[in-house]
């Protein structure tokens, strides 16, 4: 059962790491805007789109 001492230490350490990660995220403002990144990720990549649009104009 002595292994429990080690496991308790591990679990507290893990939890501390997660807490630290959250505090870091909150302090650097990563949770300030929770809407825009979700839209941003849906935009298509540039190069292919541009060409097709250009073709469109020249026609």
């Amino acid at each position: 059962m002595n292994i429990l001492y080690f496991l308790v230490g591990c679990s507290v350490l893990m939890a501390l790491i997660f807490l630290g990660a959250f505090i870091w995220a909150a302090k650097t403002g990563q949770n300030d805007d929770v809407y825009t990144p979700g839209v941003r990720i849906l935009f298509d990549d540039e190069p292919e789109e541009e060409k097709s649009e250009e073709d469109h104009f020249s026609s």
Binding site: L16, N31, D44
Partner: protein, 796 residues
């Protein structure tokens, strides 16, 4: 089906989606409604930014800008606006009201394609802000703003910096505390579980370790997360009154000291689980209470209507000056459409001031030389020169905000604080009598545990939680119906109101569906002539009239001239046509000047267009409903021209007052309050701002949430006005819910106290009792709110 038919007969603008009445603005096989939209498209297509049109159909907005930007060259003003400036790059954040769809995000984040000196730009969609990093040596701020305007996104730069105020308001402290409290609670629960299930002999060796770990976790819970409760309790005791935080601080202290005592002397497992759970829930309640709408500002004042700079004349030369630096005696140069920021005397020019900000009167007022013009007026016409007689901060309009006798909001006590006093008193009485009893029995150990247990069990945490949970549930019901209340405290204020005061223009009427009437006779040919003239103007009135004329083909227009604020003139089909309100022109054709847009064709008076605001629907029903339980009044800044119509809505007993200045409105509200009324004020413009602030609950009515509204407690969408009695009803029911949950909590407390006074309260019981009562309350408030929302017909 109707819509489909329309799309076949009309073309819509590729950029903004407005109806295209002719086909003169064409580019790349696409139709545009005006040169502005076409210009934007041209810039975007030149820079390969046509993806803008791929994400949404017709994402643009029609705009006409004549904003002067000279002031952006002044280093002083630039410093005021910029967030950060380094050697080569500067960062600035703009508020852009035009941001409305994903296309806007896409375009504004690709600004670097238009000008490589812009390094990056990031959008916060909800707040409608864009943060731009740019090379200020290559692209000056003015050029940057011009670029934004060119593509149709004009940033709003006003004296009240919306952006910076947001940054200030963001308080991350509470979020961090909640995170820490959650972490502590989770871990303490984990180490308390063995205790809950009973310890076998083998597990006993861990008991000491878990005890010390729990104690270690309790320290930050009490002294970091719970710090604010101690501070608040101490300050309120200093002022010799008891608020809700006082018993809460006491409980945190007792829980902590008892945990420390039990762990150090190995007498028991302590109350670390109760302590951390309590702190976590309390902080959650606090967060709900503080939560407000990010994208709506409730604290606006005159400064958000005012520009940041104004043009002054120094030795005949124009120079933009920051409004804060305007001094008495300065000469101001106000152009068409610009706002006069300070009280001033007219020195030169013909002033037609649109005073609708100040008085609510929509017709421009003519001012003669030497007359004093109050700040807040907007010049419609030629540029005028004025001499400042009062600094901006002391002018007639701003005086509304510096009014000293606004009711002190601090004294508004809510239900919680008023009950906290009696609650604390009762708990102390019970705790001390239990202690005294056990001391008389010569059992000091039981006396100590009875004392602490009573205080722990009688926790008013339910009180601290039920209010924010109930009220925030009500807030979200309101929110879905277009009623945005500032915060949970404001809901309690709403429930207390017993008098309702309305403003007229913009509140009972709507500007959205203005009705256009034509007084006079006009044949189809004349109609065509007039429509051809109006088609050239981007003025909102012209657009309204053009829509009403419903003409599809037009004549060639020559010599087109737009006299700002006065009208339009041109030669159409060989005839001289004039439309507007110029009195000299009308007298010349032998007609008395009348309001509205007068039409003169070849010196013959044809008639005039009258634009009438539409009354909001179902006002009769609304006023009748309100009259059942409220004292209803109307304060209008306008003339009494609508009195007869208003009397059909408002019965005889309701007071109606016309020609009320902003100060008179404020005084009327104060007088009502002095007679013991809790007043709710509904208004829309800056002229109601003083009254809104003075009232116990100020509601700003708007047809578009993104428009600027004066400072208030709540913002109501115009369409939802008819639901007002339901909103008030639900807020009153909300207070009943809070009282009921208090009764439930008291019942729980009695059970707990029964064990506590006997000194036999085991931590496990406390740990179970507290969450159960909390969960009961949260469930109760949530369900009760839903049921009552349905009762008040606020559920869809």
């Amino acid at each position: 089906m109707k819509n489909q038919q329309q799309t076949t007969t009309y073309t819509i603008c590729y950029h903004c989606g407005e109806e295209v009445t002719d086909h003169i603005h064409r580019l790349d096989d696409k139709d545009f409604c005006c040169a502005g939209c076409k210009g934007v498209y041209q810039i975007l297509s030149e820079n390969n930014l046509c993806n803008y049109y791929a994400y949404n159909h017709n994402p643009g907005q029609r705009f006409n800008h004549d904003t002067r930007l000279e002031y952006l060259d002044e280093p002083q003003i630039i410093n005021q606006l910029i967030d950060y400036t380094g050697k080569e790059s500067s960062i600035i954040t703009f508020y852009i009201p035009g941001i409305q769809c994903s296309s806007c995000i896409w375009l504004l984040e690709h600004l670097y394609k238009i000008n490589p000196a812009i390094f990056s730009s990031r959008i916060d969609f909800i707040r409608k802000q864009v943060t731009i990093t740019f090379n200020h040596t290559e692209i000056p701020l003015r050029k940057l703003v011009e670029t934004l305007i060119q593509i149709g996104y004009e940033p709003l730069i006003s004296l009240q910096d919306v952006v910076k105020e947001h940054q200030k308001a963001l308080d991350k402290g509470l979020i961090l505390k909640i995170a820490v409290a959650g972490f502590l609670m989770g871990n303490v629960m984990l180490f308390s579980f063995p205790e809950y299930f009973g310890l076998s002999g083998l597990e006993k060796q861990f008991q000491v370790l878990f005890g010390w770990l729990n104690l270690a976790f309790s320290i930050p819970a009490a002294f970091y997360c719970g710090k604010d409760y101690f501070i608040s309790a101490l300050t309120s005791l200093k002022h010799k009154h008891v608020n809700l935080d006082t018993p809460l601080a006491l409980i945190i202290a007792v829980l902590f000291s008892r945990t420390a005592f039990e762990v150090i002397f190995s007498t028991g497992p302590g109350f670390a689980d109760t302590l951390t759970g309590l702190v976590f829930l309390l902080l959650m309640g606090k967060w709900l209470k503080q939560r407000t709408y990010n994208h709506i500002s409730f604290d606006r004042d005159y400064r958000s209507y005012f520009p940041i700079a104004v043009t002054t004349l120094i030795n005949g030369l124009e120079k933009p000056v920051s409004i804060n630096d305007v001094k008495i005696g300065d000469r101001l140069w106000i152009r068409n459409g610009e706002l006069l920021p300070a009280d001033a005397i007219l020195m030169k020019g013909d002033a037609w001031m649109d005073m609708s900000f100040v008085t609510g009167e929509s017709e421009p007022v003519h001012k003669v030389l030497g007359e004093i013009i109050y700040a807040g007026g907007r010049q419609t016409g030629e540029a005028i020169e004025l001499e400042v007689i009062k600094p901006v901060s002391q002018s007639y309009l701003t005086g509304l905000w510096n009014h000293d006798h606004y009711k002190n909001n601090v004294q508004k006590q809510n239900f919680n604080d008023s009950i906290a006093k009696y609650f604390s008193l009762a708990v102390f009485t019970i705790a001390f009598s239990a202690t005294a009893y056990w001391l008389l029995q010569h059992d000091s150990h039981k006396a100590w545990s009875a004392f602490t247990a009573v205080i722990i069990v009688a926790c008013p945490c339910v009180l601290a939680l039920s209010t924010p949970f109930t009220l925030s549930a009500i807030l979200s019901v309101f929110d879905k119906k277009g009623f945005y209340v500032k915060n949970t405290d404001a809901v309690e204020q709403l429930a207390k109101c017993d008098a309702v005061v309305f403003d007229k223009t913009g509140t009972l009427t709507t500007t959205r569906n203005a009705q256009v009437y034509f007084n006079g006779e006009m044949d189809d040919h004349e109609k065509k002539i007039v429509a051809s003239l109006f088609r050239n103007s981007a003025h909102p009135l012209s657009r309204h009239i053009l829509k009403e004329l419903k003409t599809s083909d037009f004549f060639q227009v020559k010599n087109y001239k737009e006299i700002p604020g006065k009208g339009l003139s041109a030669t159409v089909n060989g005839l001289n046509v004039y439309a507007g309100s110029l009195s000299s022109k009308l007298k010349a054709v032998g007609h008395q000047p009348s309001s509205g847009v007068n039409v003169v064709i070849d010196d013959v008076y044809i008639g005039n267009f009258v634009i009438e605001q539409e009354w909001r629907p179902q006002l009769n029903v609304l006023i009748a409903q309100l009259n059942r339980s409220f004292d209803v009044q109307l304060l209008s800044g306008d003339t009494n021209k609508d009195e007869r119509h208003l009397r059909t809505i408002f019965p005889e007993k309701n007071q109606i007052r016309f020609r009320q200045s902003p100060h008179e409105k404020l005084d009327a509200i104060s007088a009502l309050q002095d007679s013991g009324r809790a007043v709710m004020m509904l208004g829309d413009g800056l002229n109601d701002a003083g009254a809104l602030k003075q009232s116990d609950f100020g509601i700003a009515i708007t047809d578009d949430i993104n428009n600027f509204t004066p400072g208030c407690d709540a913002i109501l969408k115009g369409d939802s006005l008819s639901l007002l009695p339901n909103f008030i009803g639900l807020s009153k029911d909300g207070i009943k819910i809070i009282k009921a949950s208090f009764a439930i909590a008291t019942a729980y407390n009695f059970i707990g106290i029964y064990y506590a006074v006997q000194g036999t309260l085991y931590p496990l019981v406390a740990a179970v009792l507290m969450p159960i009562s909390t969960v009961t309350i949260i469930c109760f408030t949530t369900f009760a709110t839903r049921i009552l929302a349905r009762k008040n017909k606020l559920f869809t």
